[in-house]
């Protein structure tokens, strides 16, 4: 199963008690995300370190473990879907990258953004967890 990973899920790994990490490390799941998300996450490294109180060594190890489970897609591969994403999103103007990637791959977006569930592309952690459990059984 393939899903696009929202920024809020990536940041939630930093407070995860295990559920999100268990899903990220599930072999049945292929995670995709805009390449820009990885760059932006790393651009904010100092703020993440300051707020999380993690050592730089721990942060580097955790991010490299998580990034190894995500296939990062360059903008060129989904920019053709940006205008359709913009039409779909209306007031949620900051989510175009994610929805455009979903549209180009025809897969859902794993997110915590409640407003995105109206687009029909969103899948919650609970729904994703249930789908993966069904695939295993």
């Amino acid at each position: 199963m393939e899903v696009v990973l929202d920024a809020n899920v990536l940041f939630k790994t930093l407070i995860s008690s295990g559920e999100i990490l268990e899903i990220i490390f599930n072999d049945k799941l292929q995670l995709l995300a805009p390449l820009k998300l990885k760059q932006e996450f790393l651009n904010n490294k100092q703020e993440i370190l300051s707020k999380s109180k993690l050592s730089e060594e721990d942060f580097n190890l955790l991010s490299s473990l998580i990034f190894s489970k995500i296939k990062f897609i360059p903008l060129d591969k989904y920019k053709g879907s940006l205008s359709k994403a913009k039409q779909l999103l209306k007031e949620h103007t900051k989510d175009e990258d994610f929805i455009a990637l979903c549209l180009s791959k025809e897969i859902p977006l794993w997110t915590y953004e409640s407003g995105l569930f109206k687009t029909g592309f969103a899948i919650s952690t609970k729904q994703l967890s249930e789908k993966l459990a069904k695939e295993l059984s």
Binding site: L14, G18, L54, L61, E96
Partner: protein
Amino acid sequence: MVEIIIKTDVPSEFKERFELVLANLMKSLIKELELSVAKEIASKSKFTEKDVEELSNKVKLSMNSDLLNKGLI
């Protein structure tokens, strides 16, 4: 990356089967090890729900601004 070499003796007729089982076992072991390390690090984090919301919004706004600057939306 570092390489760890484990040497063992197996009957020659089991070589291929042994290699296959060992490869699967190592794959599973590495996954469990990676997950336990990730959980251990995450458990030390003082990040909050508010931090998650603030930083993910910041990142998304920057991504959106990049698309606007490139004239793509």
